[in-house]
């Protein structure tokens, strides 16, 4: 039995949540669905931890679904990079679910909770499926599972604020356009190579050489994924979606879905393309890099002027995606490593902060900044968690945010790109402005006299502080994450055909 499980870990990683979802739907009971979801999340986390430990030495696990060898069949291919991302996604699921109990009970009507957790499980399934697969078209299928369930989850925020509906609709339209672009890109790739398996694609691309189909396939995949990961001018769906989604959903998707999209981008850019260094380099440096910089500044500046905490965090997410893209655009080992480590670091940080926002919504009924005055006293734990997460967002040492920034700046300096290095630190200063506004509101204002805010329940505080502690722990013991990220970067690089700088 043990042997059976260890042999089939990659399949089980996705199949367990996939099968749990319909089971939840059959019973359609909120409490039971939650229990199933929580157990599944823990199992998924254990599986991804096992996968990471198996691949950490640089090994690759290839699993043939249906017993058909690729490229005929669909392959699950786990290396240290996607094992790391799997761990992030399932880990966030494990902490989000206990947190969700109270906030979902408050925000979602009882009779819908069963389906709510079903949708959450489907979202998890989709994200895990996208991450683990080695087949390009399979990415699309699972991307749509996660996207569709996310649209619905965002829309359930309508119970609290009806604007969640328009947010979900806009998200759906832009997400679907993105998915269709992705499909067009895949089609062009397929047309040029005749295969859909990622490894085979990379091989065929080198074999058949350069063509316009590949160039445009690259461009369409970039735009399609760019829409999903809220790359700067394509980010318009994100702020409202994160703001009006139920708290637990904001926590989960902010920490996972953009990260998975960034992973897909990394995989396509370095794992599949790499046929034409000059083309790729110019795309990255003349398109992606400016957009990333723009995101870092524009989105951060917009964040400063927000009046709602959740929306502020959403804009900050767009800026942080800019950091990840920037690391990618460097096209160096350190740059990719900075991106990968920031995937983790930002997931932990942002999840903490959205949990804080959710706790405020739970206790105060609002995440408007003007309603948070003086809560540092009434909600000491929640407010302190905000400070930890906020410091990490700025990139103060001893937090994970610092580690990311360190590697990012180092990557810029290695290339001798001084202005970029300056831009990175400068943009993190803007984070000081928006984070400190909240800190000041929380601690240096007198609470409104009729405020009856109480500390959030323990079920919310504990997950929040688990993440806050992770923010500090991995900020002080970054050897673990940086080793994984560094290994992931070098695996990606050694697998690609690019001549690296």
């Amino acid at each position: 039995m043990i042997d059976l499980i260890t042999k089939n870990l990659p399949a089980l990683q996705v199949v367990i949540p996939l099968m749990a979802a319909p089971i939840c739907a059959i019973f359609n009971r909120g409490r039971l669905a939650w229990t199933i979801a929580f157990i599944v999340a823990i199992v998924s986390f254990a599986i991804s931890a096992a996968l990471l430990s198996q691949t950490l030495d640089g090994g690759v696990i290839s699993y043939h679904l249906g017993g058909w060898a690729p490229p005929i069949g669909i392959e699950y291919r786990v290396d240290v990079l996607n094992a790391f991302v799997l761990l992030i996604v399932s880990g966030i699921a494990v902490v989000t679910l206990p947190y969700a109990v109270k906030s979902v009970a408050q925000e979602i009507p009882q009779e819908k909770q069963g389906f709510f957790y079903t949708a959450l499980l489907l979202c998890l399934t989709g994200l895990l499926g996208v991450t683990i697969t080695g087949d390009a078209f399979n990415v699309f299928v699972f991307l749509e599972i996660s996207s569709l369930s996310t649209y619905a989850l965002v829309a359930t925020g309508a119970e609290r604020n009806r604007r969640a509906l328009t947010a979900a609709y806009n998200y759906l339209i832009m997400g679907t356009v993105g998915a269709t672009f992705f499909v067009i890109g895949l089609g062009l790739l397929y047309m040029a190579t005749g295969t859909l398996n990622m490894v085979d694609l990379a091989h065929q691309i080198t074999l058949r050489g350069d063509s316009r189909m590949l160039h445009m396939g690259f461009a369409f995949v970039l735009v399609g994924i760019g829409l999903k990961l809220a790359m700067f001018p394509l980010h318009l769906w994100l702020p409202n979606a994160y703001t009006f989604a139920p708290s637990a959903v904001s926590v989960f998707i902010s920490a996972t879905s953009t990260k998975v999209a960034v992973y897909v981008l990394l995989r396509f850019m370095f794992g599949i393309f790499g046929f034409d260094y000059a083309y790729q380099q110019s795309t990255l440096q003349y398109v992606l890099l400016p957009l990333a910089l723009l995101a870092m500044f524009a989105a951060s500046l917009v964040a400063v002027f927000q009046t709602d905490l959740k929306r502020m965090l959403a804009y900050s997410s767009i800026a942080q995606v800019g950091y990840m893209l920037l690391g990618t655009a460097f096209m160096t080992q350190t740059g990719v490593m900075a991106t990968v480590i920031h995937l983790f670091n930002h997931a932990v940080t942002k999840a903490t902060l959205f949990m804080v926002a959710g706790a405020f919504v739970y206790s105060v009924g609002s995440s408007k900044i003007s309603d948070l005055k003086g809560l540092g006293r009434a909600m000491p734990w929640t407010s302190a968690a905000f400070v930890v997460g906020g410091l990490s967002l700025i990139g103060i040492p001893l937090t994970v945010g610092f580690v990311s920034k360190w590697y990012l700046v180092q990557a810029a300096l290695e290339l001798g790109w001084w202005p970029i290095a300056a831009a990175i630190v400068l943009s993190s200063l803007i984070a000081v402005a928006y984070v400190w506004r909240i800190v000041e509101t929380l601690y240096l204002h007198s609470p409104s006299p009729d405020s009856k805010a109480k500390e959030a329940p323990l079920a919310m505080i504990i997950p929040m502080w688990v993440l806050a502690a992770a923010t500090v722990y991995f900020g002080t013991h970054a050897a673990l994450t940086s080793a994984a990220a560094s290994r992931a970067a070098s695996t990606l690089i050694s697998a690609s055909n690019i001549i690296w700088q």
Partner: protein, 145 residues
């Protein structure tokens, strides 16, 4: 709804052949065009027609919503369960070789079972979505069309 009596008669006549056709498409998918998905849609169309003509309530009397909910979940479970069965039998996930005697026989049975799962899910999901839409009170009168 008296002025729709012709419609009612015609649809009553139409529904059984549609269902038979759906079943044909379901089982014939190996040989010609068709399969679980198409069959599921056609099957759903029969019920949707019934619902359109006789009202959603009449339809949900025949097909309770709780049944739809279980059916759509069951379809996915049948499909994934086939895979899991293979996995537990020591093969890879979804390897039909685990079924029956292996070879063509296994593949045919495997395909049949998973197509059944697809069919069940698709049919019940389509009916379910229709019910969800149709259960909302229409705001338009007939003459607005």
């Amino acid at each position: 709804m008296d002025h729709h009596s012709i419609l009612r008669v015609v649809s009553k006549l139409l529904i059984p052949p549609i269902i038979v056709y759906a079943l044909y498409v379901q089982w014939h998918g190996d040989y010609g065009p068709g399969g679980g998905f198409q069959a599921g849609v056609i099957f759903a169309v029969a019920f949707i027609l019934y619902g359109l003509v006789f009202g959603v309530e009449a339809m949900t009397d025949v097909l309770p919503t709780s049944f739809i909910r279980v059916a759509m979940s069951l379809g996915v479970l049948i499909y994934a369960g086939t895979g899991l069965y293979a996995l537990l039998a020591g093969y890879n996930f979804l390897d039909y070789e685990a079924i029956g005697h292996g070879g063509h026989h296994a593949q045919e049975w495997g395909i049949l079972i998973v197509e059944l799962g697809v069919g069940i899910t698709v049919a019940s999901v389509m009916i379910g979505i229709f019910v969800a839409f149709a259960s909302r009170t229409p705001k338009l009168k007939d003459e607005d069309w």
